[in-house]
Symmetry: C2
Subunit: 244 residues, 2 copies
C-alpha cells in the first residue's frame, strides 16, 4: 500500500511537470508567433492548449483518487491539495498562451514594432520563473521558491517599462495604435504568467514548511532589499512568515 502510494505520487509529479512544460512551451510558441507574425504557428497554440486542458482534468482526477483511496496526511496531504491549485494555475497559463496567440494573429501582415524586443525579454523572464517554480514544487525546494517570489519584481519593472514605451508609440504614431495595443495585452498576459509562477512558488513554501507566505510577498521582498529598511541586510528568519 505504502509503495503503491509513493508510486502514485511520483506519477502525479511527472504529470505535473509535463503539464508545466506544455504550458511553458505554449507561451514560448505564442510569443514566437507574435514576433514572426506567423499565423500558422499562432493557430497551433490553440491545439496545444487543449492538451493542457486535458492534463488538468487527468491530474485533478489523480489527486481526488489519491485523497479518496489513500487518505494521506500531513505533508502528502498538503502536496496533493497544492497540486489541485497548481493545475488551476497552469491551465490559466495555457489560456494566456491562447490570448497571446490571438494577438499574434492580429499582427500578421503588419510591420513590426521596436517594443517586440522587450516583449521577448518579458516572455523569457516569465517562462523561466514558471519552469523554476514547477521544479521547486516537485523537489519541494523552499529556498528556490522564496527567491522566485522576490524575482517577480523584475518582471513588474520590465512590464511597466514596456507599457510606457508602447503608450509613447501610440501617441506619436496613430497608425501604430492597433499593433501597440496588441502588444500591451500580450505584455499584460506575460506579467500574469509571472504572477501565476509566483503563486506556485508560494505553494511550495506552504508544502515544505506548512507556513503560508501567500500574500506576504511584500514582506519577503522588503527583507530582500539592501539595508535601509532592513538593518544589517538580515534575511528573514522562519518566524517572520509564520502564522499562529
Amino acid at each position: 500500500m505504502e509503495r503503491h502510494f509513493d508510486h502514485e505520487l511520483e506519477t502525479l509529479k511527472e504529470r505535473l511537470l509535463l503539464m508545466g512544460g506544455r504550458a511553458e512551451s505554449t507561451i514560448h510558441k505564442a510569443v514566437q508567433a507574435a514576433e514572426r507574425r506567423d499565423g500558422a504557428l499562432a493557430r497551433e497554440v490553440v491545439a496545444d492548449d487543449k492538451l493542457i486542458d486535458e492534463l488538468e482534468i487527468e491530474i485533478d482526477e489523480r489527486c481526488v483518487n489519491l485523497l479518496a483511496l489513500q487518505q494521506p496526511l500531513a505533508r502528502d496531504l498538503r502536496f496533493i491539495t497544492a497540486a489541485l491549485k497548481i493545475t488551476n494555475d497552469l491551465e490559466r497559463v495555457g489560456d494566456h498562451g491562447v490570448n497571446i496567440a490571438d494577438g499574434a494573429l492580429q499582427l500578421v501582415g503588419h510591420p513590426p514594432l521596436a517594443a517586440m524586443n522587450d516583449v521577448m525579454r518579458l516572455a523569457g523572464l516569465a517562462t523561466a520563473m514558471l519552469r523554476e517554480a514547477l521544479d521547486a514544487f516537485v523537489h519541494q525546494d523552499a529556498e528556490t521558491a522564496r527567491r522566485l517570489v522576490v524575482r517577480d519584481d523584475a518582471v513588474d519593472q520590465l512590464h511597466r517599462q514596456l507599457f510606457g514605451q508602447l503608450m509613447s508609440t501610440m501617441i506619436q504614431d496613430p497608425t501604430s495604435v492597433e499593433r501597440a495595443m496588441t502588444l500591451v495585452l500580450v505584455g499584460r498576459s506575460l506579467e500574469r504568467v509571472a504572477d501565476l509562477a509566483t503563486n506556485i512558488a508560494e505553494e511550495v513554501v506552504f508544502i515544505a514548511e506548512a507556513r503560508v507566505i501567500k500574500h506576504h510577498s511584500e514582506e519577503l521582498k522588503a527583507a530582500a532589499r539592501p539595508p535601509a529598511s532592513t538593518p544589517h541586510g538580515r534575511q528573514p528568519d522562519s518566524e517572520d512568515f509564520g502564522r499562529t
Copy 2:
C-alpha cells in the same frame, strides 16, 4: 462525528459565500472608483483585497483540516477539492479588483470617456455571473451552473465591442490614448472575472454530477444555439459531457 462534519461543511459554505461577496463588491467598488475618478475609493480596494486574501488562507485551512480529520468521500470529497480551486479563483477576482483600482487612479483628474458606460455594463454582467456561480456552488445547482457557462458569450461580445470602440477613440484622438488604454485593461480584467465565474460554474457541474464539463464550454454553447447545428434545438443529454 457525522453532525460535526455537516456543521463544518455548512461553515465552509458560509465562508465561501462571504469571500465571494467580498470579491464581487471589490470589483463593484473598483469600477465605481473608475467611473467617478475617485482616488480615495480606489485606494479602499487595496485594503479590501487583503481581507479576500485572508479568507483564502482561512478557507483553504478549513478544507485541508476537513480532508485530514474527516476523510470525506464521493460528493463531499469533490465539494471540498472544488472549494480549494474556487478560493484560488476568487482570490484572482480580488487581484483584478486591484488592477481595476490601479486603472481608476490613472483616471483621476482626467475627463471621462463615453466608453465608460459599456465598462459599467460589462462589470454588471461579470459580477452577476460571479454571484450566481457562487450561489449555484453552495446550493449545488447544476442547472443554473450550465446556463452560466453559456452566458459567458454575452460578456465576450460586449468586451469585443468595448475594445473596438476604445481603439477608434485612440486613433481619432491621440490625447485620449492613456485614458482609453486604461479602460481597455479594465475591460480585459472584467472579461477575466466572467471567465473565473465560468470556471466556478464548471466546478458546480463537476460536484453535482461527477462529470467534467470543463473545457467543453464550446459544446455546451453550440448545443444552446438555435437549430442549424443542433437538430430540433435539443438540449445536450447527460452522455454528451460524460467521460468514462
